[in-house]
Subunit: 450 residues, 4 copies
């Protein structure tokens, strides 16, 4: 390592900038939480390639507490699907504190899975399976997200269990509104165990990266949940993850995130990074003071704000004049035809629906007014998703129906296998290996026999 | 047009699918709103290139109502900045109805600018300027977002003004908690005027596209607000725009959005599209029934969910073996050096921090174990943002400090002008026009004299 | 005065006891209220005979503020009746602060007339009459309650009007929920004027005494409102008069009461006393600290707690043996009959339903087992209300229907005029001037001819 | 019985009037409650002498449910005192439903002992004693209030226990806010048992009468709680007993009351009556429809509204001229002295502070301008409470200090034993057996030796 050490340098710089902040105080509702070192401060960053960077106390273990909530929600979604889970827990920010004793009027559902009430329901929704009891499944799931086997801090669990009356109240209240087929006291105990699972800042960054990477752990390569579940969890984190400052966090930091009272905080930049911080000094809303500041600065530094316009699209579409294709001055009939009437559209990079629309629009713009032939050059395209393919096929089909000739330069079969292409466009599109061949062939047709 | 007609086809298909839905009812708190045709249903889509597509009654005018809120919020942010605006109005979802009479305990601020209380404050924050009164500025701003001169439906304005006691109550309540230096009745009147501004579904899609395009109207090319303001507005729309179903909307549809009681609904896919629908039949929460369904389906169809992992990154980074560079089997000392010890890293597409990290990591991975020279080939890079440049420079600087040779193939100066590069990396990086030249030069150095 | 000076002594003693308390602070939301002398402290007590006692600064004028609310409520009830007034304002304690912005779900009514929202509605319900505008009627009504012409502190009124946005918000909010046919800003202005009416602690005690005396001012003898209205107002004061400490006040002090932010506090002991205090130092809930303490002690000292069992009933009913009637040993047939078989029931004091039931029960208990005659001696009865008369008549009618002889000693016609009595009981009850005559006559009938 | 049958007649008439009402519906949250006969309707009335009257199904047993709350609150107050009980449960109407999940901010106390949360706390405050467990004490207390041994409906208890999650939630929530040293599940179980205690409408009327009679059961004569506790319970019933219609009930009916979901309803007229009704058809707030109507009418019929001005005071004070004392025209010096200068004040009935003030005021008014002697005739006084005695003694002492002669006619020692009187007034007041003697003696002194 040496060039990529520059990433670590960036983390170290942020670590140094915020290590001096000593506002906030440790959670103290159970004595075990006060045993953490208030000076501890760790930062971690994990890329979609599974590269991990860290600074400070990023390997110090602490208990997940509320950081566990989105991951157990993911497990419930994976097991039961969004519709079934939504029968039991909503997805609305509540405007209330994390431990609010309130359920949705009418349905009796907790507002969302990030407040305690919703998290207890979520935990209760994970059934025992034949192979292992519910908590076993939860611990195993959390471990897969983290990419290593996690364990439980039994002291913390014991203490939480001893002081957990408010959560037991929530559990009974929830059961009183419906037929949740679980024992409230047992559900709360399982919930306390998941809160007492131990992890480090690096673990948290891997867990966040797994959500950001569409449910695949980028370090181990294991698919933990489906892309749909990962997106659902991130959406709920975006509106509800930071309790009653979720709106402000999304406004200023722009990332789905989740904090816990032991000082952990994670955030996910979809398709970018998993981020995490650990520092036990908490603000009034129970979020790590240094963690909040550092992840906010990191999002800014890395340009991760979800709503910030990515100035550089992932693809380019170029309308090419034939002057570019045949730099020498054209002579003869064929050359003139080529020069005047054949359009060339070149695309580059990854194609999604957004890019595909650009391609089609460029095809329409290309060529002379009487609708001469067009060449679509896809050699530099690195891939196309299914939304893009459907639209491209439909557009090429439209062209054909209107009698406009098209040829594609697609040696990599970016438009899909010839059979699919024929079925979708209703024609055998001429395919070529180079732009020049394609243009020439088009010009030849234009110029006519002779 | 013909290929891109396929996009219109997609809209038409959705239009047909949801036109049959006749649930919901028109707003009727003022008689003017019941004069709209309940069967009207329009859809519109505007791309970042300013291409507009539509289906159905997309040119039927209606009053903006609450759809005006994010745009006047944008105007206030542009005029005063986020910090000043945040003194007067929060950014938290309130978990309450749009017309809730409640202010934040302690500060007396409305929860956010998407509920009536917050919108009235926002409107009040727009000062009269020397050139024109506040409402003139608001109308002008809305018109710039829409790309054409909008006007006021005076009948609707008159009716709203006649029945607006609840909003007047809000205005007095807000003034009672602080020193907002405006007359409450006048602020409410301006607010009613902005609600009565008339637009079409196509206008709404352009307005949304302007936010999605970082504040630049993609049709007119005019910058309406800064990228920062656009991102701030989108973030607040994401958590608060759909009132008390904002969380569910972000979970299922995944886009910042805003609805109004006259039947308008818009959504923004950052860097992708502006979307809009118009249909006056509303659900219980005051959102267009068909609009909600159609934009939801459109987001699904176009793959716009913010949290869905974009499978195809906007850039690629390739670690190239010299076998690729010099396809024929190497002979001689120079060729062996080249073959064994020179690494080549090729990047393609747009580079942001995320991509830059990949480049640096690939540089570290490249080359032989003893840290031979490396070639960074940037010919296919289409651009690099400032975050990427800072990181690349830092990484190259690290390499240099550790004595590892590097050469760049960067005919387009993607790494910035030579002076900046020298300053940032502390060296004169050898630059070449082709990969082969660079590799050969590196090999030459390796092989040593002779 | 000298004997009754002992009452003043009791007040002085309480005054001295609480004058040293200097907790609390003056209201300061308008500068005029801070001009009061924080050391001022007055106590006043007015009896149902109109005797007034006071100690300290009981003649210092201050503005009524919220103390005006129950009296304007009384005016509205008198003008419109409870049912009509109840359409606009409820009578439930709200569990909220006095200036809460909340209306009853469903009806849109303010919770009660003691909170600002309800008081504004109450004021708005007082219509202009032909003779005088609404505020004239209110000032006149307040003056009749106080027994002297009150006036408005125009400085205070001006200041309140300048800072009254919260109340204007309430007024608009109320109008937005229904068709209250008043201009909100004007209603609030009238409300502010009534709050700025000036009175002293003695005035307040007279006002309270008027409610306690069933609506008749005990000093002037003028009937201000009906007994029904007075009772209705007292009931609402009992549950809502002390804002969110109303329950605790009724529990500990046991009297309907009302406080105002200028330091006034009054309480009413129905049929006993009007009490008042003035001291501008307020507790957190806006009630005079010394006032609360002193009136609490006064209620305790005077035994006024509404729920404290009055150990001494207002009437006595005695079952008299004939031994008491004819003290000497009876001889002869007549005397024996008298001794053995004639029952005598004597009642004393004021008769209501409660006492009447006792009388009837005693009649049943009296006499020998075979149901001999009974004498009802009402000479010492000082009065009987209509409920008592109806029951006594019904009981005597029952006796007659079962053939038991009864005679009444009722020279004062406490049972009502003979015609009414005959109609109600269906018989001509023998009436006598003395118990002896009646008993002897009964005995004579018993003994039979001979 | 025959005369007092007129009271039963009044009940029967009300019973007939409301028996036809068949609105409302039975509670059905547990099947056992639906087994009651919806047509059942009983009324009962018990006087302070223990006379019981009833009509309809007044002997049909049902479970107390929430009717038990005030009596267990009484038990807790008796055991711990108001201050200690108030540490755990408030006395404020909450403006919320009976089963609201909310505790007082800051203290964590339930709002009052009439809502479920407060009742569970109240029950939990009753400790096991050495002799018997908590529930034994509760059952024994309820039985003493009712005047007979009550028992538990085990079926109802079992059903409630099976469906009581909401109450268990409350119990855990309460324990989570403080150190209530009880097991929540056990506290709720005890609470369910108290709710399942079985009683009749007559029992309820006796229970209410016991509170109305200052804590003494008027049927058995047993003191169940102190007068202070009885008054405290009645005060809380007055503001909180009818849940969120408590204010309206006090306004219209004017009595402390408590209802239960099995159809029981009781109300107490202090020093007057205990009232009760039973009918299982409930309104939306869980109160018996017929019960509410019938007890409202009964209060009206019996003139029991607490705030209605009792027109007839329990005592009379008469300023007697000597013309009344010596009807024949006075002759001679003595007679003239008597006629002109001796005042006579006669009091009758029960004396409390209110009456004592009248006596003192009359003493001041009596006599000639130069402050001649005065005779206070107390022969017709039936009693005087301690507040009255203190004031009378103080007044007589004042008179003496100012040199005005007074003589009392007090053969019954209503002013207390001579020693106490001497100590309090600082003199030996001359006491006489008749008014004439006293007046003559005073005149004699006036006339001087002669």
């Amino acid at each position: 390592m040496s060039a990529s050490e520059a990433v670590t340098d960036a983390l170290r710089e942020l670590h140094a900038r915020f290590a001096g902040v000593d506002e906030g105080r440790q959670a103290d509702y159970i004595p075990e939480l006060t045993r953490s070192d208030p000076d501890d401060f760790g930062l971690a960053l994990v890329s979609m390639d599974g590269h991990a960077y860290s600074a400070g106390a990023a390997d110090t273990p602490f208990t997940l507490q509320s950081v566990s909530k989105p991951f157990v929600y993911a497990l419930a979604l994976a097991a039961l699907g969004l519709d079934e889970v939504s029968r039991w827990v909503g997805a609305e920010p509540s405007g209330e504190a994390f431990n609010a004793i309130s359920l949705e009027p009418g349905t009796g559902r907790p507002a969302n899975a990030m407040v305690n009430a919703g998290a207890i329901v979520t935990t209760a929704l994970v059934p025992d399976s034949r192979e292992e009891p519910a908590f076993g499944r939860i611990l195993s799931c959390l471990s897969r997200f983290a990419g290593r086997k996690l364990d439980v801090d039994e002291d913390v669990h014991g203490s939480e269990a001893a002081t957990g009356d408010r959560n037991r109240a929530l559990a009974y209240l929830i059961r009183s509104t419906g037929s949740l087929p679980v024992d409230p006291v047992q559900a709360v105990d399982t919930y306390f165990r998941q809160c007492a699972v131990r992890a480090t800042a690096v673990d948290l960054a891997v867990m966040a990266a797994t959500l950001a990477y569409g449910g695949v752990n980028p370090v181990t390569g294991e698919r933990v949940v489906s892309p749909e579940v990962a997106a659902q969890v991130l959406a709920v984190m975006a509106t509800c993850g930071m309790y009653d400052s979720s709106g402000d966090w999304l406004l200023r930091v722009g990332l789905p995130a989740k904090s816990g009272v032991s000082g952990g905080l994670l955030a996910a930049g979809p398709a970018r990074f998993g981020l995490a911080a650990y520092s036990p000094l908490l603000d009034a809303s129970g979020t790590s003071v240094r963690g909040r500041a550092a992840l906010g600065a990191l999002s800014e530094r890395l340009g991760l704000h979800l709503m910030r316009n990515p100035a550089l699209p992932g693809s380019t579409v170029t309308l090419v004049t034939t002057a570019d294709v045949l730099p020498s001055a054209p002579t003869g009939r064929l050359a003139r035809a080529l020069h005047e009437r054949v359009g060339v559209v070149a695309a580059q990079g990854a194609l999604d629906f957004t890019a595909a629309e650009r391609v089609l629009y460029a095809l329409d713009e290309s060529g002379s007014e009487d609708g001469g032939p067009v060449v679509l050059d896809l050699r530099e395209v690195t891939g196309a998703d299914s939304d893009a393919l459907v639209l491209l096929h439909a557009g090429l089909s439209r062209l054909a129906r209107e009698g406009r000739r098209a040829a594609v330069v697609d040696p990599g079969d970016r438009l899909g296998p010839p059979d699919l292409l024929r079925e979708r466009t209703g024609q055998d599109l001429p395919r070529f290996g180079s732009r020049e061949e394609a243009a020439e062939q088009c010009a030849r047709v234009l110029a006519g026999p002779g």
